[in-house]
Amino acid sequence: MSSLAVVLAQAPQTTVINLAPGAGTPAADPNAPIPTPPVLWAALLPILVLGIGGLVLLTISSLLKKGAPRGFYTLYTVMVAGLSMAAAVPLWAKVNGWTKIAWWDFRDLWWQSLPTEAGPFSTLGQAIGVDGLSVFLILLICIAVILGSLLSDDFLLREGLEGPETYALLLFSACGGVIMAMADDLIVLFLGLETLSIAVYVLAASHLKRAQSQEAGLKYFVLGGFSSAFFLYGIAMLYGATGTTNLVAMKDFLSRSIPANNALLLIGFALLLVGFAFKVAAVPFHAWSPDVYDGAPTPSVAFMASGVKAAGFAGLVRVFVVAFGQYAADWQPIVYALAVLSLVVGSVLAIVQNNVKRTLAYSSVSHVGFILIAVEAATPAGIQAVLFYLASYTFMVVGSFGVVTLVGRVGDGRHSLDDYKGLGRTNPLLAAIFTVFLLAQAGVPFTAGFVAKFYAVIAAVDAGSTVLAVIAMISATIAAFLYLRIIVAMYMTDSDGRSASPVSRAERIRIPFATGLSLLLCVLTTVGVGLLPGPLTELSAKGTPSLVREPARTATDGGLTVGTTGTEAAPGQSQQQG
């Protein structure tokens, strides 16, 4: 419900009531209409669709006397996420300046309400920005929601937890994630972050039958609250240093004048990085992720590992790489340290685990390290590598956790390595699918993982940090060892023993339709992108973010109008301005 508060939030500095201390009545006459910023509802459509979709889901479920028909909630969630993606397509066309994609001609739609010229644009008084990055992220988060809801369809039935709650929470956290992706204002970013994480805290604690789930939820909540307080304190510092919380205005302020003592600025950077590092589980703020991933119900873990991390990185890229590009020299060392730590600790600790879910949690920490080396490059190629890695990583992770959901069987508790022993013999198809995902995460060629790691290494080497690339590759090799252990457990352990004995009924795991569909989707994309990385490379190339001013408005409006339309950066163009 607080997500809607965001949409309504007037951009702070356009309200003219300045209650300057001591001034009795406001300067302007009392009943003059307050100028409100123009709202491009078309730009807000993706957010609205997800938010209202979640609300309507709750209403329907509360009005239905007896339970909903089987699979209705999943279908509904997939439809809402699909609709949100469809709403994002015209924005994508607008940002890239096309007027029609394939058969869909946008001119007749609500097109005229969008600003005339092509290129990224912002609305709600520069609070929400629509550019390549935000639309790419909308698509990615919606895909994560679709895959997540498909996985949880049969899972909830199996665990006896039917009900709309999980799906509503998925939609609300996606809405929060999308707000974060589109946020050009630090406060809107914070609200998106909070909407996302509060929904995910409850999602983590939603398995009522398992004590670990509640405990995971509480741990995630306490540490999440702790880190969002740091994040907010960082925003306060930046507000103190630059006098505004809007990233566009902040960038102008910093380019115009160098603040005398940028102590506030540096503290702000550090604190913001703490908040972001916690959200994406980079070391040393990763302590929560193995416990929470182990405790929380597996389908919601799939969403947490993909959607939440994508939104976290979107915020990180937009704030640091774009808004504070000039000050890259200040924050790059911190990101460098985070990357190295995440890579090394992520892969080393993963080896000592014997619980598969916990191993995957640590391996996702080492993936975060890889994405951080692309962020550390702070170049357009770096951003493209981040987006490519996030996209391919989402499918790999959701797929792997999909298989873990199935192997977890009733009670979602059987995740130790010997539950996977001989899986190659008892469930050959499931084992083959899991091997594809594991090899993809290890970065074996002809899988999306390899190409993603390749682009990340290129971005790092291009930006001159070759040492980082070498460390990354070595930790990828160490991480490969842990994926091998799982493959060994599945295929090679008892193959000589009772290989001939027929597989008993209990061992064979039935792959339900919805989970099968999402696994199929993930496998096809992982191998497809591995073979033909072209299309996804184009998409991520177009996903370069750029901070952009409010489009020009007639002189009559009061408030902070900005003269020319400062659409600074055509997509993919030089990063400095963008």
Partner: protein, 563 residues
């Protein structure tokens, strides 16, 4: 198939600007050859698990087809033509100028043919105990990797195929090996993966720093990178060379990185170890030649002494440790370390004879060690052991088997008249010109090789067969059929290596001239080599004019005239 080929050809348009004149015969030879086993692997994956005979048939057919295409390439090959032949390329990722280019020249031609021959023979030579479907699928996929590596002309595609060979072999050793197979497989995987991790960073930094593409963009095309690697600083090019060298040193087990080889060999199934020894070890030495010498002439010149010493150590160390082995397969594995030591030494002698000998040694070693492992496979099928202690007096019981084993073993020792000798002699001659004392050390290595192989033969084959060995049946006709082509090749190459040398020599000369041109320093052999030539009297007509300022064109007609 007929409709498929033109469509396929359209994808791989025949770029002839590499070769200048000779283009492929309008039919994308190399892509079909590389992807033919892939087709086989896919078909096998789709076949039901029970139809073992059909699966085996599809596997053998697809690798024989690839071998046949290799022979066609051998026949069509223009010996003297500069540059690469049968080049076909399809763009893959435009933004990074990554193209799927395949092409071969004198050096990679015979390695491709060797792969084409060895794979079908290894498939026929042995049968897996359990789960044949996975076994044949992984083997055909391994062939795709091997063929691809030797034909790739794009750094990214080379790295891709280099990594592709990793997973199938890991599965083969891990699932169908014996003894401590999981340990050996994991050790093999991690060693190679670590090496290739360094190589990836090296390739990426090479592509970016060399700014090879037209207009200084990133380019992964081998030709462009070779042309523009000059604008790399000496230190960076040396660093990148080290990065690449680590991967290749792990792959050809050069001394410090060889520990994975004995385990991988002894635990691998027969077909696995035949291909591992026959082809996969050549990836490293081929890599050194194509991506070491050609790409970083100055750096390879700088590191030549160190590499030669490592090669020499490898020869001596391999020989001594092999002599002490009780397990026959481990003995052959260490002998491979020694033979590959020869190749490395020949390569970094940087003389025409040295490099030529090293390429020939790669081919000969592939044939002889492949044959040795097949024979050991037959032995294992009969006695289910490799331990020398348990084998005695097989000569009396299986004379034909012993006879064939003797021929192959003598070839491996390097007895004149068989193929081992030609390669090793050229390597020794080349090294003698450049680094006199290393050649002496290497010669000692040859003697040690003779020592441990003959001793092993004597222990296993001579003497009275006790009751266990008495029942060893002789080779049946199937096995004879399998081993016959290899023995024929061993004898043929030993007696008349001229056709092979004719095709290797121009390519090697071009590489060395490229090294001379870019480093600007006279390579030791080019002058003194000429006067040694009459002594050697090797087949391909030594009466060249002294090799000062030779232009390739003249050399080409000369070779033409000779034949």
């Amino acid at each position: 198939m007929s409709t498929l080929v033109p469509a396929f050809a359209a994808v791989f348009e025949q770029t002839s600007e590499h070769t200048g004149e000779v283009t492929g015969l309008g039919f994308p030879l190399l892509p079909v050859m590389v992807l033919c086993p892939l087709l086989g692997a896919i078909v096998i994956a789709l076949l039901p698990k029970e139809r073992v005979d059909v699966i085996r048939l599809v596997a053998v057919l697809s690798s024989v087809a690839a071998g046949a295409l290799g022979i066609v390439a051998l026949a069509q090959f223009e010996p003297g033509a500069p540059g690469f032949q049968f080049v076909s390329s399809a763009t893959w990722i435009e933004s990074l100028d990554i193209k799927f280019i395949l092409g071969i020249d004198g050096i990679s031609l015979f390695l491709v043919v060797l792969t084409g021959i060895l794979f079908p023979i290894s498939l026929l030579a042995s049968k897996p105990e359990h789960d044949p479907k996975g076994y044949y699928a992984w083997l055909t996929l391994l062939e795709v990797g091997c063929l691809g590596v030797f034909c790739a002309l794009d750094l990214f595609v080379f790295f891709l195929f280099f990594e592709i060979t990793l997973v199938p072999l890991y599965m083969l050793i891990g699932k169908w090996g014996h003894g401590r197979r999981v340990y050996a497989a994991t050790k093999f995987f991690v060693f190679t993966m670590l090496g290739s991790a360094f190589m990836l960073v090296a390739i990426v930094s090479l592509a970016i720093l060399a700014k090879a593409g037209d207009g200084g963009t990133i380019s992964f095309d081998l030709q462009k990178v070779i042309a523009s690697q000059a604008n790399l600083g000496t230190v960076t090019s040396r660093l990148i060379f080290v990065g690449m060298a680590v991967a290749f040193m792990v792959k050809t087990p050069v001394f410090p990185f060889h520990t994975w080889l004995p385990d991988a060999h002894t635990e691998a199934p027969t077909a696995g170890s035949v291909n591992l020894a026959g082809i996969l070890l050549k990836l490293g030495t081929y890599g050194f030649l194509r991506y070491g010498l050609q790409l970083f002439p100055e750096a390879s010149l700088y590191f030549a002494p160190t590499m030669i010493t490592l090669g020499a150590i490898g020869i001596i160390y391999g020989g001594i440790v092999a002599a002490m082995q009780q397990n026959l397969k481990r003995l052959v594995a260490y002998s491979s370390v020694a033979h590959m030591g020869f190749c490395v030494m020949g390569l970094f002698a940087l003389t025409i004879e040295g490099v030529e000998g090293s390429v020939l040694q790669m081919i000969n070693h592939g044939i002889t060690t492949g044959a040795l492992f097949i024979l050991l496979g037959f032995l294992y099928r009969r006695r289910h052991t490799y331990e020398l202690a348990e084998l005695r007096g097989i000569q009396k019981v299986a004379p034909v088997f012993a006879g064939v084993f003797t021929v192959v073993m003598l070839a491996s020792i390097g007895v004149p008249g068989l193929n081992g000798f030609v390669g090793e002699f050229l390597v020794l001659a080349g090294t003698f010109i450049a680094h006199r004392w290393w050649a002496v050390v290497a010669a000692i290595g040859v003697i040690i090789a003779a020592l441990y192989l003959l001793w092993a033969y004597q222990r296993a084959f001579h003497g009275e067969p006790d009751e266990a060995n008495r029942t060893v049946p002789d080779l049946d006709w199937g096995e004879k059929l399998v081993i016959a082509p290899l023995v024929a090749l061993i004898v043929f190459l030993g007696v008349y290596p001229k056709p092979v040398l004719d095709r290797i020599e121009p390519a090697v000369r071009r590489v060395l001239e490229h090294v001379e041109v870019s480093t600007g320093r006279e390579l030791p052999s080019s002058r003194k080599g000429a006067d040694l030539a009459p002594l050697v009297g090797d087949g391909h007509g030594a009466s060249h004019p002294p090799a000062t300022g030779l232009d390739p064109g003249a050399e080409a007609e000369h070779a033409e005239a000779d034949r």
